[in-house]
Subunit: 452 residues, 2 copies
């Protein structure tokens, strides 16, 4: 625990393999750290005296000050000796970005690295893209190609740098925030189990999303997850579920993936919510990080597009959610504000000439209804009778203390508004079925909490 802290709160970082050449990984990492990291930054490159305006050193041993964290991007065959130097320099934590280990069959090289570092320095990687968080961006993707997310509540642990970082790009693009992003690669030392234990006590993290191809320490995983889940929800996507997928895992990381059923059973036992697709991993985690759990399955749907109400009702029933009858008081309040063609039943249809005010009154009535435990708000905002005040109305639905998500289908104009809502912690989905499944994930978390 104390050790891992150096990965997330270093006061000084050495970038070993820093490059003077734009376009190179060792340049991009240094550049992105320079932009984001406020501590001391030491580029290490025996061929250079200065990179990006920073004094450059031939080795960590030539630096007098102490170093908390080493980020290593040199060729695979040099890494072992660099780790030996880091140990000499009393560096306690290293992130090895370099690939060329067990994932390409170089098991011996990886084993040597493991042996030389064991008990002396903590390692994340090799073959990873490192850590991204507020104040520390060591990702080598150009910032104009891969957007960085704002500060938020979800922490991501990913065994695949590619899946993790592109998902981070989607997250950033949709305006969702991230607490910490950790790419674990071949995980020769620090693995998902230890990181979960760290995130358990991390105040920045409210929910954890996990992409894994293999979990080696199954028993410990279940134990730590069980302990965390009552405090913070965990969503996991297991890749390599089919025989073909497992073969691909073996090619990719050299790890044996093991039967999917074992993982599903372990997740269930641990109270981890299983995402079946990449989309679900993303969709569920943003709902779980920003909304309270749903204690039962009684949801109301409020829409201004009748077709959406039908699609959402179908999806809700199929996901095991219930659409209770609204109480008499709610129906009365709705009828007061609805035109003759409106529908004061669940799903509530405010119809295609809905106004911001109509939404406000209807949402108040529905949220306050004792029969209703969560609300799916569907907004067809493209109609001219609605203004941006609706976004404030939706944000303020937080005051009712019940979970809710939004469905808004559309192009750039809608996406801009969705980003605004996401910035306020309101999960927005582009399709009714996705929104419903996110509510179902909140209900699943509610059930998990009750079992504890």
């Amino acid at each position: 625990m104390a050790d891992l802290n150096l990965f997330f709160n270093p006061t000084s970082i050495a970038v070993i393999g820093a490059s003077r050449t734009p376009g190179k990984i060792g340049y991009a990492i240094l550049e992105n750290l320079k932009i984001t990291f406020t501590g001391k930054l030491f580029p290490i490159n025996p061929q250079a005296t200065e990179i990006l305006g920073l004094n450059c050193y031939p080795s960590v041993l030539s630096i007098e000050e102490p170093i908390d964290l080493a980020v290593i991007v040199t060729p695979a065959e040099t890494v072992k000796n660099i780790i030996v130097e880091c140990i000499k320099k009393k560096i306690k934590a290293a992130i090895i970005i370099s690939s060329g280990f067990s994932e390409i069959g170089e098991k011996e090289r990886e084993l040597e690295l493991k042996n030389v570092s064991k008990g002396k320095i903590r390692i994340i990687g090799p073959n990873c893209v490192g850590i991204f968080q507020k104040g520390m961006d060591m990702m080598f993707f150009p910032r104009e190609r891969l957007k960085r997310p704002s500060d938020g509540y979800i922490s991501h642990i990913t065994q695949s740098g590619a899946v993790g970082s592109t998902l981070l790009d989607v997250i950033a693009s949709e305006g969702v925030g991230v607490a910490r992003f950790i790419s674990i690669g071949n995980k020769i030392d620090v693995d998902e189990v230890e990181l979960l234990a760290y995130l358990e006590k991390d105040v920045a993290t409210r929910a954890i999303a996990l992409y894994v191809e293999s979990i080696t320490r199954g028993k410990e995983f279940v134990e730590v997850a069980k302990r965390i889940v009552p405090k913070k929800p965990i969503v996991a996507l297991k890749a390599g579920k089919t025989k073909k997928g497992q073969e691909a895992v073996l090619s990719h990381t050299g790890a044996l993936a093991g039967p999917a059923e074992i993982y599903s059973a372990a997740f269930k036992q641990a109270g981890v919510i299983e995402a079946k697709t990449t989309e679900e991993l993303f969709d569920f985690s943003k709902a779980l990080a920003n909304q309270p759990a749903l204690n039962d399955n009684r949801i109301a749907i409020v829409t201004d597009g009748g077709g959406y109400g039908i699609l959402a009702a179908d999806a809700a029933v199929q996901a095991g959610l219930d659409l209770p009858q609204l109480s008499d008081n709610t129906v009365k309040a709705l009828k007061n504000v609805l035109p003759p063609h409106g529908i004061a039943k669940n799903p509530v249809d405010l119809t295609g000439d809905a106004t911001t005010e109509r939404y406000q009154t209807a949402l108040e009535a529905v949220f306050k209804d004792k029969n209703v435990s969560a609300v799916l708000i569907i907004i067809l905002m493209q109609i001219p009778t609605i203004n941006d005040g609706l976004l404030d109305v939706i944000r303020d639905c937080k005051m009712y203390g019940k979970p809710f998500v939004v469905c808004a289908t559309g192009g750039q104009w809608i996406q801009e508004r969705a980003r605004k809502l996401e910035g306020w912690g309101v999960p927005v989905y582009d399709m009714p079925e996705r929104a419903v499944k996110a509510l179902a994930a909140l209900a699943e978390y509610g059930k998990i909490l009750k079992k504890k």
Copy 2:
């Protein structure tokens, strides 16, 4: 057929209920028609002499020239008399945008409208958003809020104006084209069956997407669909599959939805591909409109992110697709271009330092492989070693004559590139599972074609 032609190729349109007030539906429709329609446009409004620079008339009867199509946006209670006037004026086709009929319980009003028009004038609607196609935009959504798509190959028939038009917004935003978009609303006359028959012979249409809540003429639907499907694929999303959903259909349109199983059976019998979600309707139709059918289920996956290969392999097996072994020649060609850490097996992993050239050589080998009938190209373009030339390489994969789709996960930068590919008829999906399901839809269409 001859009658329906006036809906799609009118030389003159009267907008009855045209308004002088920006923000009103009758203003927006006239404005959007004025921007797009090159024929003669006649605003009808007894209170105005000129709207948007066009001469305004008190009634269609005061126009001397012939009129092909009337678009009606007046209050429901006035529509019957307006239709009588249209008949007098010998107008043969009318689109009734106005709502306030059976969908709000005014069945008598709808029946009267039906009786007065029967055999004298063809009607689309009421309670719809009309038609959108190249050269004719009568949608009332502000253009800055709801983007219009470019010209393309998919035609959409939608029973819900809300679902249809917001989906159109998504389509436009992703750079996908549309041939014709028809909102049928309460369909008191022209229904999906007749429109399918029209689109059968429409050269602009290569694939048809259908959103329905109820189909009244089931037998005729199956007949016409059966006839079309060997020429053009049809994808259908049925809303109102659950009891709750069916109740919502009844509230929404006054129609009885009927059991979902009957629809699924009819779709299957007719060779219509059923979309289970709104996302699938969108995803499948753009693949079917732009790619050839897949004659068997042997796909290859080419990726530069190992994790994506695993996720896609899982999804492929789960969708009933096969990942065949690549031929010796292909493996040889791949090994020539791959670094030691690349994987020359299916899924092919070009790894995180892939270049445009590596993609080009690998794709050529894989596309030419006799064991491979379709290709899923996964591009993690955020890595600095890839340039935009990759987009051209992918576009040119059309020359191999095999179906292919692309998966590109990411934010705005990736989305811009995806739009470019979509503009060339290459379907792009943001998640591997979505891309795989689109390939599975192409395989389903291949099976349907074989049965014929």
